[in-house]
Symmetry: C2
Subunit: 149 residues, 2 copies
Amino acid sequence: MLIESMTRKASIDLLKRARVARLGYIQDGQPYIVPMSFEYDVDYLYGFSTEGHKTTWMRANPRVCVEVDDLATTEKWETVIVLGQYEELPNTDEHEASRTHAHALMQKRPAWWEPGYVKAIVDGKERPLEAMYFRIRIAQITGRRGIPS
Amino acid sequence: MLIESMTRKASIDLLKRARVARLGYIQDGQPYIVPMSFEYDVDYLYGFSTEGHKTTWMRANPRVCVEVDDLATTEKWETVIVLGQYEELPNTDEHEASRTHAHALMQKRPAWWEPGYVKAIVDGKERPLEAMYFRIRIAQITGRRGIPS
């Protein structure tokens, strides 16, 4: 197997193709990971959440990591890591344009993993339906791929 | 969709079933995520790596997170988060038994994602073949599942 760095373009291609990412954030010195659905657009990854937990912690510490991968076989795989800054897009005039943009992006196709959108009963209690839109300002993109040799 | 907490037993069932996890660690206040192959065994998750990067950082800050999931559909999914402590199993007499145990566990079946095992040329340079075995001492397991309603 050859392992090689991916070009920025190839890394972005995977970000465009992938529908599910894993989002890493820090809570009191402890890393956490949650799956998330997202859309890539130029300098940002857009996502949403109805959960209080992760947004509370990302607000407190906005340095996050997003990992996407395409693991076809043991020797044929791609992984891309995005390091970036969490930014909320609350329901205010100031963020209206960005929210609308995020919404339009995420509506483009049915998300494969979208618990944020569906009516949900969480441990017996109805969850508020309104999603918190957020975006991650991309500071760094790195990708590696394995190639059968 | 109903979202409910998973029992410890159901969470462990997913840890036994899943072959790929995402491992989260912290480097200088920045979370990182890498895919990893692993085996669950009682109080530990066992894995290995030939990469220097992540082992260096987990040695410096052993608080890690492991996420596994089974995302069948938008409304039918399970995710489990393990919080724990990184422990290396270096090639020394002291760790011989644990290394042998880790090796036996990981040999049980062909890992789907095992770049640590194969001869690899990384960016043109041959990578050392010897794997660093490690384990993650499980401090906490939590799981959530979505159920179509």
